[in-house]
């Protein structure tokens, strides 16, 4: 009962008044920012990063977990009432959620999202509690070759499964790899691709990339489409609660969403995007009230929202045990760890168990707080939605600039961030997903270091990637991810049926 003892210790430290306050602050700030249209959890965490420079690591991470949960929940409110998903993981929620709000059942939609998030969050944190230590022990067996193959799998699954075109996904990934390469090579101390700029020697910070792509890119996009966006906030006239029938229909959807969300989040496949869409289609297929779909079926909100929340705990598994961030938000959380000189990975469980377990305990606490805070305060959050777009995006630009400027008071950093913002705008204009770019930036250092380490150990023999069973298995899975979207087409061709859809698509690839 090693886990339980550790968890109890975690609760003991997370339940101190100081940490409780930080968790409450995190959940509240996260919801307030997450409600703002166009801001997803990744950007919320990136923008609030400077707030925690003065905290101790445990306190800061507890606050971030709260911000993340709050950001996710706030995003669902925006999706339901405004039809504006803050990130790709809440796109699936908008379909039925906005339809429910239009037919005057916004209150029930918000309630099923809130309770569903709580149920999914609690179950998936429970899974995390028991799965993470096991994976951390397994992770000790990982050798450099396996780590490299794991990053390849992460690259391939995000690029191939998300977004409309594999080619554009690959270009997006390579843009990320390019940005990740800039700076001094850690192994040899040689500057690479710095174009003679001394400011680039330290490389480009993930926060700079995330704020550029998500905040500035988004603001420029909004500016470019300004005359053509109409705002429509749907009022919530009913109470934010569910009737007996709605409860009965929500329960199974929550549970199925959780069971989809956690494992998909834990796989190196880019977080919550795929499970939310899978949950949406599963619920639609299983529903007994098919005629309701498109007009506001509550299962279509309950399932994806649960999947979204469960995926977050799932994402924490590779992040904490392998040091492998698989979503933009996880990458920013990794930055938060690194600010405190903590390197997530198998050794973190041995070196700083008190921090890990306080963090896991605070996930349970954050979940409860979210439920207690959000249902009564929902009307205040709805008011935030009424902030005019112009003020909102001017504010996002102010906070985005602040987030990057406060890193090192550098004009050049801010300029690089704006340049990346222009890049993000152009990518969005021409249909390139930005998710793979972020992943490329984050994972490139790990991929390259492990690749070189593996070949040093094998003395230059590249077969090491194929002879280790674990590494081979991961590479085969990566190849499978590339082929998976084409399988329905292939089957249709073999049966000589007309091909209607091209490749299967999971999500839009606009994670932010």
């Amino acid at each position: 009962m090693d886990v339980l003892t550790n968890l109890l210790h975690g609760f003991a430290s997370a339940l101190t008044p100081q940490y409780l306050l930080l968790a409450a602050l995190g959940v509240t700030l996260g919801t307030a920012i997450g409600v703002l249209p166009g801001i997803g959890p990744a950007l919320t965490v990136a923008l609030l990063l400077p707030l925690t420079y003065n905290f101790d690591p445990t306190g800061a991470l507890i606050m971030f977990a709260g911000i993340y949960y709050g950001g996710m929940y706030g995003g669902s409110t925006t999706s339901i009432l405004l039809n504006t998903p803050g990130e790709s993981a809440s796109v699936a929620t908008t379909f039925e959620g906005f339809a429910m709000a239009k037919s005057g059942r916004g209150g029930a939609a918000l309630a099923t999202a809130a309770v569903g998030s709580f149920v999914a969050g609690t179950i998936s944190t429970l899974l995390l509690t028991f799965v993470a230590p096991v994976v951390a022990r397994l992770a000790l067996l990982f050798q450099p070759a396996d780590y490299f193959s794991l990053t390849v799998l992460a690259f391939m699954s995000v690029t191939a499964l998300v977004g409309k075109s594999l080619l554009r996904g690959m270009i997006s990934l390579f843009i990320g790899l390019f940005i990740g390469l800039i700076g001094i090579d850690v192994l040899t101390g040689q500057p690479r691709l710095t174009f003679g700029m001394t400011e680039l020697l330290d490389g480009i910070d993930v926060v700079v990339v995330a704020v550029g792509l998500f905040a500035v890119g988004e603001a420029l996009y909004v500016a470019s489409q300004m005359r053509h966006t109409k705002e429509e906030i749907l009022p919530v006239n009913t109470s934010v609660w569910m009737n007996r029938d709605e409860w009965r229909r929500s329960w199974p959807a929550w549970l199925r969403g959780t069971l989809l969300g956690f494992p998909f989040g834990a796989l190196p496949a880019g977080g919550a995007e795929i499970p939310t869409f899978l949950s949406y289609t599963t619920e639609k297929r299983l529903s007994k009230n098919k005629e309701e779909w498109g007009h506001g079926a509550i299962e279509g909100v309950a399932g994806p929202e649960a999947a979204n929340n469960a995926a977050f705990s799932g994402v924490l598994v590779p992040l904490l045990t392998l040091g492998l961030p698989t979503s933009a938000t996880a990458a920013i959380l990794l930055v938060a760890f690194q600010i405190y000189n903590l390197q997530p990975g198998p050794l973190l469980f041995q070196k700083s168990p008190e921090l890990i377990w306080a963090l896991i305990a605070s996930l349970y606490i954050g979940n409860v707080m979210l439920l207690v805070l959000n249902l009564p305060l929902i009307r205040i959050w709805i008011k935030i939605l009424a902030i005019p777009r112009s003020v909102l995006y001017a504010g996002i630009l102010v906070f985005g600039t602040l987030g990057v400027y406060s890193l090192s008071n550098s004009f050049v950093d801010v300029m690089i961030m704006y340049a990346i913002g222009v890049l993000g705008f152009i990518m969005r204009r021409y249909g390139f997903p930005v998710g793979p770019t972020i992943l490329g930036v984050i994972l490139l250092p790990m991929a390259e270091a492990q690749f070189r380490r593996a070949l040093s150990i094998s003395q230059g023999d590249p077969s090491v990637f194929f002879t280790r069973p674990l590494s081979l298995g991961l590479l085969v899975a990566a190849a499978g991810a590339l082929l998976l979207p084409y399988i329905p087409v292939l089957i249709a061709r073999l049966r000589r049926k007309p091909v209607d859809a091209g490749r299967v698509v999971f999500g839009e690839g606009q994670e932010d």
Binding site: P50, L51, Y53, N54, K164, S165, L167, R168, M170, I171, F174, L177, F178, L181, D185, L187, T188, G189, Q190, P191, R192, L193, F195, A219, L220, V222, A223, S224, Q225, M226, R227, H228, P388, R389, S390, V391, Y393, A394, G395, L397, V398, T401, L402, Y405, S406, N409, F411, V414, M415, Y418, F425, R429, Y430, G431, E448, F451, R452, L455, S456, G460
Partner: protein
């Protein structure tokens, strides 16, 4: 037909933009590959030098860029063109460029004017560019944001921000 409906001119511009994007990707690959030769290989015995990954990325850019060029010319991706054409019809480039210019000005003024004044100036300007017509409200919000952020960050959070012209006053 409303003025916003896509016209042939929009479709032509969409195609041009996409082809330009493809060419940019290819030339970026070329630039990376020329830069690779300038990367020192470092002293001592290293199995995989610092040039391998940049080379792979450079070659990747060229290959992917060429494939994308094919999709915008010979093997035209009609869905993509239709999508970009719709956006082209609704895009206001002037607003986008003004927004970007205001950002650059903001960043350049952060140090000389100080965080507070630069923010107080930027907020109403950006609000105006993004379509706000209530100048007085925006000026007040800008001032409040500038002062509040400066004081909270420097006094409470211990993060350094430039005081600029207000050095000694704040």
């Amino acid at each position: 037909m409303t003025p916003d409906d896509p016209k042939p001119a929009h479709s032509a511009r969409a195609l041009f933009g996409l082809r330009l994007a493809a060419l940019t990707v290819i030339s970026l690959g070329g630039i990376i590959l020329t830069q690779v030769s300038q990367i020192g290989t470092g002293a001592g015995f290293i199995v995989v030098g610092p040039r391998i990954f940049p080379t792979v990325v450079g070659v990747g850019f060229v290959v992917l860029g060429l494939l994308f060029l094919l999709r915008t010319t010979v093997l035209l991706d009609r869905d993509l063109v239709a999508e970009v054409t719709t956006e082209e019809a609704t895009t206001e480039w002037s607003t986008t460029i003004l927004a970007l210019l205001s950002l650059v000005a903001y960043a350049s003024l952060l140090h000389p004017l100080g965080y507070t004044l630069a923010t107080a100036l930027f907020f109403p300007v950006a609000g105006r560019i993004l379509g706000s017509s209530r100048l007085r409200r925006d000026i007040i919000i800008g001032l409040a944001l500038g002062f509040a952020i400066y004081l909270i960050f420097t006094r409470v959070l211990g993060v350094r921000l430039p005081a600029g012209l207000l050095t000694g006053i704040l």
